[in-house]
Symmetry: C2
Subunit: 129 residues, 2 copies
Amino acid sequence: MAVMTPSETVTAFIQAIERLDIDGAVAILSDDVLYENVPMNPIAGREGVRAALAGFLGSASQVAWPVSSQFEHGNRVVNERVDRFKIGEGWLEMPVAGFFDVNDQGLITLWRDYFDLATYTDQMAALRP
Amino acid sequence: MAVMTPSETVTAFIQAIERLDIDGAVAILSDDVLYENVPMNPIAGREGVRAALAGFLGSASQVAWPVSSQFEHGNRVVNERVDRFKIGEGWLEMPVAGFFDVNDQGLITLWRDYFDLATYTDQMAALRP
């Protein structure tokens, strides 16, 4: 079996999120993963990330996170994305810069996203029934 | 004279900003540079960026933009920074993810920063006399 590159690992993680497959997504995270949404409090550990994903994926009926650029530098992967969530009848769209570290076991140990929090909350308020 | 790498070009640009040397900073930009503060409207052209820099550097008596990580991929440079501005007696601090493209003439053609706008505006409101 071919080992995935760090970039392929991040792509598999995002594809799991797009399938709303939380088990599949967190299986790609290390036990001690650190998840930083930069404007918010960091979340430590796989089970903490599971709860966070369940929260923000739970309000969406569909999710698409198209990646406009992604590349790796050693074990670090960087991407630019537009994280899209279907909320009710509309789509919330949020530009994101993501930084990921992937360990030698092919698990994500760091996930750090930079984005504008109000871009998310303002659209959520407008779209929620 | 040694040609700078794209990463060195970005470092020189940030160092000019830290010196509050707007002329030195914009000299490293292409005429048609595109400057995107992602939560805000994009700014096109060197003179537009000069005006933007004059605006947000003008309210600061000191500026430090420490870079925690930076690397290049072809002509693309990515960094993570904390952009710090001394406003009155206090320091405003804003985490930023920056994406830069550098052309073959060693000029920056794209500067795209991801950050949380309220992190800036809330601190600015608190610090301004």
